[in-house]
Amino acid sequence: MSGLTPAIKKPRVNAERLATALRLWIAAGPGLFWIILFLLIPSAMLLAIAFLTNSDFGSPVLPLSLGSFSEVAGYGILGWSGANFVTLARSLVQTGAATSMTILLAYPLVFFIITRPANLRPVLLLFAILPSWTNQVVRTYAWMQLLNPEAPLSHIAQKLGIIPEHLGLMPGDFAVLIGLTYNYLPYMVVPLYAAAEKLDWTLVEAGRDLYASGTKLFFNTVFPQTLPGLLSGIILVGIPAFGDYVVPQLLGGDRAMMLGSLIAGQFTFSPNWPYGAALTLIMLAFTCLGLVTFRRLTQRMGAGEGAML
């Protein structure tokens, strides 16, 4: 039918496209403008502040400078210090460790759930993600109760010689790792479950027919099929874990400082907004780097159909 009127086809399509775009922005507009006004502009302001100078009261003032970035690199009034690099490295290592832990726990859990009868699966999945619906402060506080120096677990660890006599399992890096793993495990379980549910088991059968077994069977038939879910799980766990504030604050203490606590400190107790903003920029840079890397990988896997982006 469109072939009959080739002369007027092109302008009409353009007008139609414009009308559709307009409708999109009318319908989605309120929400989009809300996010632009209350998040895009504020975060742009935060980034701009990184290039200002700190006044005596911790609020930023005008002369543009890169002073906050040299402070990030460790140059202060007392000379150079590597503390920020240690903090950044610790954040990266903790994020990697916590993400690995969630992978190690989520795989058996997810495959346990999908090998149960179909009517049990939703309940088992629900119980796996239910704890994450309570408030993060409550969840982290719960681990404070379990790991504190007076709690039985710490006494056992002391007896076994894992930790020195006078210390507890918290505060410290170990407690932060546990806290991060606990808080973000559901973010790994859900995408992995979604991928595992769609698993094509005939491939596994074929592999078995070809006498593949055990780990070989898993890594050649099951693992590649769950890879898209795994990659989105890594993004969903890694980004919030890297930027977490509550867990290192409550379970970490001063010696297990992560980037989140360092940044928050510049906006609360001892205000230095430009320095804090510059640190934020570093955090966002690493977040984007991770995001882009894993999105590239996911796209190469050809996954993500049905996603909006």
Binding site: W34, F38, N135
Partner: protein, 278 residues
């Protein structure tokens, strides 16, 4: 999948049970401590809950949390539904270029991917300057609510989008053929179709609001101490107390109760749907 070797199935069970234990042990510990405040004085009591019921600060914090969650979720669901609807309905399948494809997606994903600490601090600075120059939006429940809507709306949009993406586009053609205008087909076609997603999105928005601490912490004012902020303050001040354990237990119990209720209700609805379809 039924012919997975028995050994593997048992192995999965053997690893998964401890994981479930790990998920619930900390929550169970709080619940136990809320009834048995001291290891040195054995015996159960509900004294901690009595303290809570008579603590005006706690009651006010609970009230603020509920008001914040319900109001922000209502607005967040409205904005999110419109975004999900707009994107699924008015975007060509092939992406549609920058203004129709890339930009709206980027904006919607921004609150989801941004670390909540950066989110919270950005808003704190923004509200701070707005208040400084206009006198409006002093830090309080209103600024917290604005921030909550900002992170709720995109999640609701995703839920609604997922629901509408599976919908036959011919339905909209049909409604158009029956002389329904845009608003009418939105009210009489889109809304009924997305109702489950709408309810799910609203509940998700409430959960997100109640679960959030970091963003609330940075956008709160002195007069808007909500429950999570109150608990955080108490932990910072005292470390632990039977009262915190009692609040924590109540929050956990509420979440589990609501989740089970939701599960039972949706299961029954599913059954009714099945029978009426058959």
């Amino acid at each position: 999948m039924s012919n997975i070797p028995r050994g593997v199935r048992n192995g999965l069970l053997g690893v998964s049970l401890p994981v479930y234990l790990l998920l619930y042990a900390p929550l169970a510990i709080i619940a136990v401590f809320s009834f048995a405040p001291s290891l040195h004085h054995p015996g159960l009591n509900v004294a901690a809950y009595g303290l809570l019921a008579n603590d005006p600060q706690v009651l006010a914090a609970i009230r603020r949390s509920l008001v914040l969650a319900l109001c922000s979720a209502a607005l967040g669901t409205m904005l999110g539904t419109l975004m999900g609807f707009g994107l699924s309905r008015f975007r060509p399948a092939k992406g549609g270029g920058f203004w129709v494809g890339t930009l709206p997606s980027l904006i919607i994903y921004l609150p989801i991917i941004m670390p909540s600490l950066v989110f919270g601090i950005s808003e704190m600075i923004f509200f701070n300057y707005v208040h400084q120059y206009t006198g409006l939006l002093s830090a309080g429940l209103l600024t917290m609510g604005i921030a909550h809507v900002t992170f709720q709306a995109p999640y609701v949009a995703l839920v609604v989008y997922a629901r509408l993406a599976g919908l036959d586009a011919n339905l909209f053609e049909a409604s158009h053929d029956l002389y329904a205008n845009g608003l009418k087909s939105f009210l009489y076609l889109t809304i009924p179709v997305v109702r489950p997603a709408l309810i799910g999105g609203f509940l998700l928005a409430i959960t997100l609001s109640i679960d959030d601490f970091t963003i609330s912490f940075f956008t709160a004012g002195p007069g808007s101490v909500t429950l999570p902020i109150y608990i955080y303050g108490e932990i910072a001040r005292k470390g632990s107390s039977p009262e915190i354990n009692a609040i924590g237990t109540l929050m956990i119990a509420t979440v589990i109760g609501v989740a089970l209720l939701y599960y039972v209700v949706t299961r029954q609805q599913g059954r009714i749907g099945q029978t009426s379809a058959a």
